[in-house]
Subunit: 380 residues, 4 copies
């Protein structure tokens, strides 16, 4: 763990404020995003894991981290500074961060609204959406943000019945209504609900999703193309994910896991041309806290059918993997909206398990992202 | 293991013979190459692991497998049909193959010349090269091959002193002298010797190398770019290779291993921009025979310096991984020579640990290979 | 793979024949048992993996392998010599074995009876049991075996409803009725059915079970005591098993897997004093054939709560692991019956996931087994 | 990580003080030992990983943790409270510990003497030993400790030439001269030097060693007996250890690693009856700090020679694994000396890679330890 030695980063932002509205604003990912943004903006740590910190994105006119202002919806009550302390105890955040980022955590916490959508909420969906959209409008007015990016980082919800809009879709609809760019970092339905299709097309905002690609699927998106290019025939691809935290418990629900696994399987099917044998498990292991272990076991045929195997074990911290990608997406989507881009953004497939089109191969996705970055900066 | 059900492949070759001259012609890789080529040409097994079997290469006018005729140099005496039986016992070749490929194995075996270069060889290097080149010319005359590709698949030799040409370089010089395309599938010096530089430039033949990328480095060439693109900071990359067979014993010699490890490190340095901490070990484990286990352990920093790890365990059969790539290289290089291409071929970096230039990333190397395939086929 | 060089073993058996009756007599385990017994008895291979081949058991007066004669029940029709060929193709049996053991395989195959118990079998259970017991009596008469050990090596059946006797229990009841020792090498109910309790007590035969301890649970039976003795606190123990073959498909049925997992959990609970977090998965991966990969991930607390992990990956061939234990159990149980021992044999916990009492620690189980061996030999 | 909730442990010690003298008293193991002892004595954390906290040792009349007083030799200058802070940053100690144990750390630090033995030390060995022994006598006088246990937890030193006493042996000789029990927790020579043999026999103190069994060898001491008892033939056992901290750097010296690896191999040779193929590597990976990853790869033959493998990956914190064992050894050795036991204590093989006799199997070693505990308590 690095000590908080200031690193020279971006100059103090004369840039106008950029709004970031987090659905699940008191969760681990959100807390890490807010605290980490503060630390990087203050030069307390180099921007490791921030994709848009690469020189290739320097010309993209992306909003600097120091210009981001945070708010969000959450039904949980534990304030962000306290959540940050908890994440230190779990080994997610460095011990110096809660103090260093206290002001930013407290400021964001004050801007969190309950937003709660409960099962016995008897408001009509439209009424709920309007109330949520009003929260977004209030936030923009209070912070002076010209644009706000709404990012869903809440716990995964079960796959919805088709007739009713699940909570994630209500929040997504509120983003549309408030004219905000929308990012779905979870496998929940969000804008991917048939009843929102027309509205999404008409809204004139850019959106992207879904399900951040942070571990096992990230690996799969480079390994599956390798097998395909080498004409090695993948026979079986099995995976087990162990994780605690809220996400472990949420995904222990088979209905929630189903949504997540669909994304994981898609990268294999798209890369290999066929779905191999094998199952993906997601197990709740509370002892692991926010740390995740993903084991993959791949059986493949080589020359003359010789059977071979590859195993991978990935041990990562979920929130630390997700948070910088959230910041990347906010920077890219805010600038995309500024440039007038609307609709689904397949150029951001690099970040998602189940993107809106494009190649399933990470290398191709990175090429597309670089081109997108260049396009965002051109003709300013 | 597949049963020998005939698969429809290429039509009977009206194509003129294409020569393949293997340095180390009675080794495991060579035996698997000859037997496997026969099986695939006869339609007894689908062309799994043959990169050039992909539809993308169909227009490259590559010589069909059925047109390849084999010979080579080796000091070992065990005939190829017997070596094939041994490889069945080790689980490398399917049990039906020695019988099915007996004619081709016996024919290739008859064309093997001792070629032997011993330590107390008191001939002048030039005399040795002339004798080896004569073997190549005789082979072309006997088989009617218009072009011959020389491929070094012999055991790795220790890094040479600069003054003397090591055996691999004598064989490479003979290829130049006989006007043959040359492929160095090992980490030995081959054409990469300062005393051969002028001759290589002048020879007017295409050449490529070195050290076939069959396992651990193949993985590294997709994983290292992944870390780089995600701005994850790799702190340490350690590796242990366990293998038996002749290669295990040869690489237990630290001098021989040094050449191999230099190639393995290069992909990391080139992809990551810095050499991470960590060591690569190659251990001789005779009990593993021709099977290789490669364990990699990668320590990387994520957001705010959070320390994470990835481990990979690759269990493959070395000869089965190498042989199809040898066939790919022969097809590509023979056609390249036919098209009049000469000098180093960086377009073939996809196949090598330590290629002659080009990107270290497998995805970029595959793009370059596809473009090369298209170029070979154009304007026939 | 070893070549069939004869090894000096036991002298030609003047020993009278010992009957072995296998439920599931044409399965992989049974085929490996019969063929392997023939190979060892003929001195074609050393007795690797045969526990009772240790010098410590030399005084136990156990029947020699050459005295074993095989028969059994199976509804499958593929004859044993053909099954052995299939197992060679899967890499389970050495290629020379089907020919070397052909006579013994054919002889055993002729003594297999259908025995079939189908779902629409409308015979009364008692009638079925009587028919099965008659098969056993016929076998003893035909072979001249003074004693027969019945071993269940059939596919795992779902946990039964309490009222009806499942097939495994019908076979077990037949063993009791015919006065045969009985071994349940599977997690199926067998004698562990409340409606057989009284009969088992009264039968006057020795019996043992259940579920052969061949891989993941074998490891757990040495690792769990290690954690306990070192006062390391195991927080989570997760496991994933990948296997093909018939067993993979059978255990993909959650009801069948439940029986198996109960045994796996018991060793942890008994060794650690508490059931840790974590789940065990059994996945059907047909591409693996008879090979099984078991991955375990253990999270434990050390001094001052420092969180640490251990992972194990076991790659074994199920039939090759099971078959020698079947031979061990037959030798021990036959001799136990000869010595007049009856009822459950907790001394054989070394062989089982879910034994009839005794310590869960492998070391203690081995001590108990050695003592049992000594007792069997005493006062002959 | 646990919060410092007081746990009821032992009553306040009316027990007279027990001296603990650590060679390498400002190293990671020593710091963790002193701080952890304070935390446990104060009931701030349960005694996880302390073997002698098991009820079986309650009757052994072992000195309570609260009675231990610490001092030692070290040439390093960083005071213990500061070292504890550093270990928090590395994730070795919980963040609350430096404050909670500050008084004990500071008190121990004041009792540390330089003791330094440098290469250009031109004192005669005997003079050095006398000076070191005087430090021990002073410590006993100052603390009122009736008995002091000297424990070597310094960095591993290279294998010595036979003629000269290496530093570890000079410290060991000083312990003998001062009448102190001696424990060698490292692979350094210590009392195992031919020139100390007579003195050790004559000294009338108990001693034990060497090289604490904390990770890879601990696993081997349960896995190797498992293979032996199952008559599985181990063909190769390869291992790679990755670690940073001071120990990683020290063991990167092949001469130092040689001593360590000899102990690791001995458990295999003694358990399996033969040394299998394979190599053990110890790599310095500074990025891992005090954390160690040990990968083992075992190739074994099953029934009929079927080749199988087991892999283990152990990820532990070296100091957290070693410190509780140091406390265990101090308690046991102090009581042993009180009971008048002298000479080598093979009963403590449970704790060491390379013990003074006894079984190499952990289960047997634990039995011996339990018996020793009972003996210590008897006839008080």
């Amino acid at each position: 763990m690095e000590a908080p030695v200031p690193h020279p980063t971006e100059p103090p932002a004369a840039h106008p404020p950029t709004g970031v509205w987090l659905i699940g604003a008191r969760g681990s990912v959100a807390t890490t995003t807010v605290a980490g943004c503060a630390a990087l903006a203050a030069g307390l740590h180099p921007p490791t894991a921030l994709v848009t910190s690469a020189p290739a994105f320097a010309g993209g006119a992306l909003p600097p981290l120091g210009s981001l202002v945070f708010g969000g919806h959450d039904t949980a009550a534990t304030p962000l500074p306290k959540r940050a302390e908890e994440l230190v105890a779990q080994g997610v955040l460095p011990h110096w961060l809660p103090a260093a980022a206290h002001a930013e955590l407290a400021a964001a916490d004050e801007r969190i609204r309950p937003g709660g959508i409960t099962r016995d909420d008897d408001r009509a969906p439209d009424e709920t959406i309007a109330a949520l959209a009003a929260d977004l409008t209030d936030f923009a007015r209070a912070t002076g943000a010209a644009r706000t990016v709404v990012v869903n980082v809440a716990s995964t919800e079960p796959a919805p019945a088709e007739e009713t809009l699940p909570p994630s879709s209500l929040y997504a609809a509120a983003a549309l209504r408030a004219g905000c760019a929308y990012v779905n970092f979870t496998p929940s339905a969000g804008l991917h609900h048939p009843r929102l299709a027309a509205e999404a097309r008409a809204a004139g905002v850019p959106y992207a999703g879904r399900d951040g690609k942070t571990g096992q699927t990230l690996l799969r998106s480079v390994l599956a193309p390798m097998f395909a290019q080498r004409e090695l025939r993948v026979r079986a691809w099995s995976g087990t994910n162990l994780l605690g935290g809220g996400d472990g418990a949420a995904l222990a629900d088979p209905a929630a896991a189903a949504a997540k696994n669909a994304g994981k399987e898609r990268v294999l099917a798209d890369s290999l041309g066929a779905v191999p044998e094998g199952t993906v498990h997601i197990d709740d292991v509370p002892a692991l806290g926010d740390w995740k272990t993903a084991w993959d076991h791949i059986v493949f045929d080589g020359f003359l059918g010789t059977r071979m195997t590859l195993q991978t074990t990935w041990q990562g911290c979920d929130s630390a993997l997700a948070a910088p990608l959230v910041l990347d997406l906010v920077r890219l989507m805010s600038r995309a909206q500024e440039r007038g881009l609307t609709g689904p953004r397949p150029e951001l497939g690099f970040f998602f398990k189940d993107p809106d089109g494009g190649s399933p191969a990470l290398a191709a996705q990175y090429e597309a992202l670089l081109a997108f970055g260049a396009r965002l900066g051109a003709h300013r």
